[in-house]
């Protein structure tokens, strides 16, 4: 019963996501093959659903990978500078090569995110006495520095306003033809699953990984690359969404443990479901307008996380 609950919830949320929107789409219209209803479905609702699911899965997995590499449960792209670096990358691509396309922008974001994550992991490895709080605090400070550089840069180039656009994740602009780059997350998810055991071994620490015959540096670098691809693909298509990578892995670890081979599918389902729920909420709150998902995910995730912390440490 409990095993079936999560997939069922996920399917229910998918259906809801397809049905909710300014334009009414009813099952009867779809069944009578109304062109209008089908166009809404294929051009807007299905792309949005796909983008939501992939982003949710991707961000949750990013959180898991980063947490395993850094060995700290409070780390995710938003608390390790990765997200800020990706934004900085997009900004610089816009000024250096103004005519650059989406793929070009993504490559810039990817490169910046990857280098910034490598640097962050190097910093963390360099700190001798790391406490559980120090690691994410260093990440937040590091991210703030990157963010400040981005803002200063944007200010100098009169980009400050359009930069607000990427600051907040938003699915309302997703339509057929402008979101397909998000499908890059699909192979990343497959790779993450194939390498699941390696990431668990990484989380045992450098010494233990080496004595189990795993090349620590190579595999940690690979993990950061997977994170960078996912983060840059989501920032380009929907923008920044905080907390998903933090809340979901913590929730799953608490109830299902951390043997990634077993828990990754659960992490994926939780991630997608959380984002779907936040999106539906955002679409209904001030109907027919929308609250950007960056806001809903930020507040819902923040509250869930607070509850988790209180339950765990009191």
């Amino acid at each position: 019963m409990r095993r079936a609950a999560l997939p069922l919830l996920f399917l229910l949320l998918c259906c809801l996501s397809l049905m909710v929107g300014v334009k009414q789409v009813s099952w009867s219209a779809l069944l009578s093959f109304s062109d209008d209803a089908w166009l809404t479905l294929t051009a807007s609702r299905l792309p949005r659903l796909a983008a939501l699911v992939l982003t949710g899965v991707g961000l949750a997995m990013c959180g898991v990978i980063l947490q395993q590499i850094v060995r700290n449960r409070f780390v995710e792209p938003a608390t390790s500078g990765g997200l800020d670096a990706a934004k900085l990358g997009i900004l610089i691509s816009l000024t250096v090569v103004p005519s650059i396309g989406t793929v070009g922008k993504m490559l810039f974001a990817l490169a910046f995110c990857f280098v910034a994550s490598l640097l962050y992991v190097a910093i963390i490895r360099h700190i001798k006495f790391k406490s559980i709080v120090l690691v994410p605090v260093v990440g937040l400070m590091y991210g703030s520095v990157l963010s400040a550089i981005a803002e200063f840069y944007a200010y100098r180039h009169n980009f400050l306003q359009s930069m607000q656009g990427w600051l907040l994740g938003d699915f309302s602009k997703i339509v057929q033809g402008n979101y397909e780059i998000i499908y890059l997350i699909l192979p990343i998810v497959v790779l993450t699953y194939l390498f699941a055991q390696r990431f668990t071994v990484l989380a045992m620490g450098e010494g233990m990984a080496s004595s189990l015959g795993l090349n620590y540096t190579a595999n940690a670098t690979l993990g950061l690359m997977l994170v960078a691809v996912t983060v840059s693909a989501t920032v380009i298509t929907v923008g920044a969404i905080p907390f998903v990578g933090l809340v979901v892995p913590n929730l799953v670890a608490m109830y299902y443990g951390e043997n990634l081979e077993r828990t990754l599918p659960i992490v994926a389902l939780y991630g997608a479901s959380l984002l779907l729920a936040c999106d539906i909420l955002g679409r209904l709150l001030i109907y027919p307008f929308e609250v950007p998902i960056g806001l809903t995910a930020g507040s819902v995730g923040g509250v869930v996380f607070l509850v988790l912390l209180i339950r765990k440490y009191t």
């Binding site: 233990m208 189990l212 043997n259």
Partner: protein, 260 residues
Amino acid sequence: MISLSHVYKAYGNQQVLNDVSIEFPPGQVTSLIGPNGAGKTTLLMLIARLQAPTRGELKLGGRSIASIPIRDYAKQVATLRQAPEFNLRLTVEELVAFGRFPYSRGNLTAADHQAIDEAITFLSLQALRLSYIDELSGGQRQMAFLAMTIAQQTDYLLLDEPLNNLDMKHAVLIMRALRRLCDEQGRTVILVVHDINFAANYSDHIVAMKRGAVHCHGPVAQVVNEACLRDLFDLDFEILRSEQGFVCNYFNPSTSRELI
């Protein structure tokens, strides 16, 4: 056989190991003893390949260990270190399964499952199989980690202070298990241990280290004597021998009261 020839190790300006040349007899339990800062753990970490020597060469079966790929080395030498910061939420069974990682690289075969079962049975951990390790006592936790190391099925086992923070019962359980691994399965066990009585009663061979050099080494009966231990630890010893083994008394030896 593991052998070291003219090995030096320095951290910055601090010389930790100074011209160490020694051989570890195969199929025996060897204890590394000595005061804090003698270089015991560093020596063990060099053998485990978790650190590289500044100078000198380490050999495994006549081959320089630096030339062995890390994946193959993990099938010959398993290392158990203290892991206080290990905070992964895994069950005992899942943890032990990771001992098979050098072979399976993530896909467990029937042979892997058998090795996991054997390791769990060897340490009588069946009842704890599905418990999460972060919910176990320190002693049970150490047993689980040892089971993981055993499942790695290597000829050589390296253990860094495996008895640290354990109660007497678990300390004895761990040492008996190491003894059996050596006697029943012919494995070579090398461990760093601080309790001289455990070293004296459970090992075949002792390597005593002081200030980065080998102070004395040899079979237990040869090393465990008043003169050698006094020089090693700067403490007076009274060694009581019985048929069951040795008791090294350094708490209130009747031989002298110099310290007071």
